[in-house]
């Protein structure tokens, strides 16, 4: 009996470096304008999966990422660190998804993979910042959820015991399978790339990537099937079009505004003794201080 772990990983624009062209007029993100990275908490999720794989016999890890075809980079990165295989769910129809449409799409991809024991997601993606996709995917799969996981305390092929990080403390819970876990950023950091795996998976590619490079892998894939990064369309995962992308998203962006500073009239003061004493006197006499 094998034990199947599915890790959800998102390629995100690095919101720590946002420029002017980051948003398109319709309020969606112009991903092309930003460097794309592995969502940080999804790396924590991958590490938790790898840790479970270290402890449970015959465990396999599959990655699912939804996004443009370049998201195959995420699958490759995960392979370098220990994932067995991965799928990019990519289709023009899923563009502009809110979290409801995203979780629907992801849950359809999970269903296509067949039986699973654990789905492990990050708590939150740094671009949308909602932390909604994990719990919504669990609902669509009709399985229990354990959010904010920080540490696996105990794991067998029958059940798992998890420490959760809450706002003001911790909670230890136990669940059987199947179950969905979301992983908190305070969990263990992901192990780095493994040199041998890097060599092995360096040439792993998806169909779109090969098309772009003008390469043909049909022979290579026959010989080394692990070099294939699957790509699934909406039709492949048997998704209903009405539940995908902008059409399937109940939330609509009405307006986007850049944050502007409203200048206040500010009194500028030097650190000289006289100035400081004057300021403190004013603060105390006007009862702002004291």
């Amino acid at each position: 009996m094998s034990f199947r772990i599915i890790v959800l990983a998102k390629q995100v624009p690095d919101t720590r470096n946002v420029g002017k062209d980051a948003m398109k007029e319709d309020g969606t993100v112009n991903r092309a304008a930003l460097p794309a990275i592995f969502n940080p908490e999804d790396l924590n999720a991958l590490e938790m999966a790898l840790n479970i794989k270290d402890n449970v016999k015959d465990a396999t890890i599959s990655i699912i990422t939804m996004g443009p075809s370049r998201a195959a980079e995420i699958v490759r990165e995960a392979m370098y660190r220990g994932a067995d295989n991965g799928v990019v769910v990519s289709d023009r129809k899923v563009a502009g998804s809110d979290t409801l449409a995203t979780s629907y799409t992801i849950s359809q991809a999970i269903k296509k993979m067949g039986k699973f024991d654990l789905v492990i997601a990050g708590r939150q993606a740094i671009d949308g910042d909602t932390a909604q996709v994990g719990p919504q995917t669990a609902e669509k799969l009709e399985c229990p959820q354990i959010t904010y996981a920080e540490e696996v305390m105990e794991v067998t092929d029958k059940k798992i015991r998890i420490k959760r990080r809450l706002e003001r403390g911790v909670e230890v819970v136990e669940s059987t399978y199947p179950c969905l876990i979301t992983v908190h950023g305070s969990a263990k950091e992901c192990r780095s790339r493994h040199a041998k795996r890097l060599m092995k998976y360096k040439l792993a590619k998806s169909n779109s990537e090969l098309q772009e490079l003008g390469q043909d892998y049909s022979n290579l894939w026959n010989e080394k099937p692990y070099l294939k990064i699957e790509e699934w369309s909406a039709a492949d995962i048997m998704a209903e079009d009405s539940r995908l992308g902008l059409t399937g998203s109940p939330t609509k962006v009405k307006k986007i505004e850049n944050v502007v500073l409203t200048q206040k009239e500010s009194k500028v003061i030097t650190p000289k003794d006289e100035d400081m004493n004057e300021l403190m006197k004013e603060l105390i006499s006007s009862h702002i201080l004291g």
Partner: protein
């Protein structure tokens, strides 16, 4: 019918959480504007004086699922109760705290009801909308306004065609306000067996350690906030020292917290606490939008910064251009010498 609903969280001390009372206060205003009732849902064991606690904030109906199995919070039983109640009562708006409970529960509910959910709203307003393509008009929608994209933009999100319109809001963002001390509502006890299944308790809680909130900077009148410009944990002691003498609380920016100068509970901003003190002293703080989001409503702001162009200065009432290591000791010294 089609009332405004707030899901109320129950604290370790078996009271209603502050964040829920803040949402109730906001919910009351929305309900008034829409001409509907304000209902809450409480799931938990015995809570003393629940009516006295909630009615003054303007609650018209308390839906109360009272069962000792419902505390502490677990996803599935609470999920089953809320979804069934919402199917019966068809709320138009449903608000949840953006807490470890609300952010676990609300998305699962929205997914089940196939409706929209907006995370971490900072403003909620009622407004109209005309669909550009079809010209279709919508009256009295909930504008769900949230910072997004790392706080660099403010997005107004609407959910025109699905109900309820769901949103989460962080603690401290809305104001907790008594509506009317003599306001009275009714209480509706739910028959818990009709709402939850035994399977809902499939996850076992083995252990819990929840600490009482030790640090509470949310209600402080004076806050001295240290940023990355403090330079080191040693220098950061000056922030504590000034806060001590002027009887304020210590806050910090994320950069200062990440650098280990201060504990996370004191972080102010979009991913920390929102504060609105009488006086806010920002020391070595640049004033990134994510930080300002949590403090810009302070009544008076003093900025101490070596850089005259630091963005924080433009929202400050007083800007001291100088080194914190020079300025802070002077403030402490003057205050000690001239008060008491």
């Amino acid at each position: 019918m089609n009332n405004v609903f707030v899901y109320c969280e129950v604290t370790e001390e078996r009271t209603i959480a502050d964040v829920s009372l803040e949402l109730v206060s906001k919910g009351r205003k929305l309900a008034n504007e829409l001409g509907v009732k304000l209902e809450v849902l409480v799931c938990g064991e015995e809570i003393k004086d629940i009516e006295k606690m909630l009615y003054p904030y303007g609650v018209d109906v308390i839906n109360y699922a009272k069962d000792s199995r419902l505390f502490p919070y677990q996803t599935l039983p609470h999920f089953s109760i809320v979804t069934k109640l919402f199917q019966e009562k068809q709320p138009q708006i449903a608000l949840f705290g953006a807490t470890s409970v609300g952010r676990d529960l609300a998305p699962r509910i929205a997914s089940f009801l196939r409706t929209g959910l907006t995370a971490d709203c900072t403003t909620l307003e009622i407004g109209d909308h005309t669909e550009n393509k079809t010209g279709k008009e919508y009256k009295n929608l909930l504008y769900q306004i949230r910072p997004a994209f790392g706080g660099n933009i403010i997005a107004t999100i609407i959910n025109p065609d699905h109900r309820p319109q769901m949103a989460t809001v962080r603690e401290g963002v809305m104001k907790k306000e008594i509506f009317d001390n003599s306001h009275k509502g009714i209480i509706n006890f739910l028959k818990v067996e009709d709402y939850v299944k035994n399977d809902d308790f499939c996850i076992k809680i083995i252990e819990r350690h929840i600490e009482q909130q030790k640090i509470n900077i949310k209600g402080a009148q004076i806050i001295v906030c240290g940023g990355y410009g403090m330079g080191s944990k040693e220098n950061f002691r000056l922030i504590h020292e000034l806060a001590d003498v002027i009887q304020g609380e210590v806050g910090a920016t994320r950069a200062a917290v990440d650098a280990g100068m201060c504990e996370h509970e004191r972080q102010i901003g979009q991913t920390g606490v929102t504060v609105r003190p009488k006086l806010y002293i920002a020391c070595g703080v640049s004033g990134a939008v994510q930080h300002r989001a949590g403090m810009q409503e302070s009544s008076k702001i003093i900025s101490i910064n070596t850089d005259p162009k630091a963005p924080i200065n433009s929202i400050a009432d007083y800007t001291i251009i100088g080194d914190v290591m020079e300025v802070l000791p002077k403030m402490i010294k003057y205050y000690k010498a001239n008060t008491k």
